[in-house]
Amino acid sequence: MTRVHDRGGWPTDESIDRADHAHADWELRVDALHQVLGRKGLRSTDEMRRAIESLPPEEYESIGYYERWTAALEILLVEKGILTTEEIDRKMAQLDQ
């Protein structure tokens, strides 16, 4: 069964957009956060990959690269009992004020 992340050879005529975007601060930090947690043994590259690959196909295809990383980080931290979804919801609401 071909899954959404397994893109090699998927039929597409789409040309390659060679423009690079400047990374937003949060993108740099979520990338860095993964590395910091990796060094502390709190997540591994393989766990991270598995979490990204578990995203619903429509979400995988519609969100950006570091958005996938964020979603994967949440999946892993909740799975490991380090954070809860409710806790993240509350903190997000608090930061938004």
């Binding site: 893109r7 998927w10 789409e14 930090r29 956060l33 502390k40 690269y65 993240i88």
Partner: protein
């Protein structure tokens, strides 16, 4: 910036941060509150990644062009060879392979599953490397992809596409442009652009050679 680059708002526009951007900030804040990381550690990791760029890979390529002994070591044991130049590949589980382009064979690197890339030598991968279009097409239409980047290879040249994994990253050692015999290692390094180390282009041809 935010109006031309949809989905990637500028950090100052905090009111307009996307759902995931806010989510990421909330996760970091909670991890810091719980003492699992500090803002300084995260910033330090940002700085480390930002300190790496294709200029690092270019130094390695230029050294291989001028020093046959180094080139041999680079192909045989890339990790130790780049360490000679001060580049430490921190993750012992991740191997690096160096692929030498010749007059008969041209290598192209992709990560069809995601975005694995020799970050310690090239910095962050470009957006197109992570795009669904590149990941899909590189393995079925490599010549078409290279043509989009302006590279037309002779029909008789063999193209080998290498698919990266979390355990194996690739760096292309491009061919040294003809007519560069008199150039210094530093000048050669300036010809080695990022895309030539991924294999979608060749190195720059120096002005003096191109116009000769």
């Amino acid at each position: 910036m935010s109006d031309v680059q949809e989905g990637h708002e500028h950090p100052e526009d905090s009111a307009e941060l996307s759902y995931y951007a806010q989510r990421a900030q909330a996760i970091e804040a909670l991890l810091e509150e719980k003492g699992l990381c500090t803002p300084e550690e995260v910033q330090q990791a940002v700085n480390t990644v930002e300190s790496r760029s294709p200029a690092d890979g270019a130094r390695v390529v230029a050294r291989a062009w001028v020093d046959p002994g180094f080139k041999q070591r680079l192909l045989a044991d890339p990790r130790s060879a780049v360490e000679e130049m001060g580049y430490i590949l921190p993750d012992a589980n991740t191997q690096l392979a160096v692929l030498e382009n010749t007059e008969d064979v041209h290598y192209l690197v992709v990560c069809t599953l995601c975005s694995c890339y020799p970050r310690n030598l090239l910095g962050r991968p470009p957006d197109w490397y992570k795009s669904l279009a590149y990941r899909s097409r590189a393995v079925i239409d490599p010549r078409g992809v290279m043509a989009e980047f302006g590279l037309e290879l002779p029909g008789e040249m063999e193209v080998r596409v290498m698919d990266s994994t979390a355990d194996m990253r690739y760096l292309v050692l491009p061919r040294r442009p003809a007519g560069t015999e008199g150039l210094s290692e530093e000048a050669l390094a300036r010809l080695v652009n990022r895309d030539s180390m991924i294999g979608v282009t060749d190195p720059f041809i120096p002005q003096a050679v191109a116009s000769a």
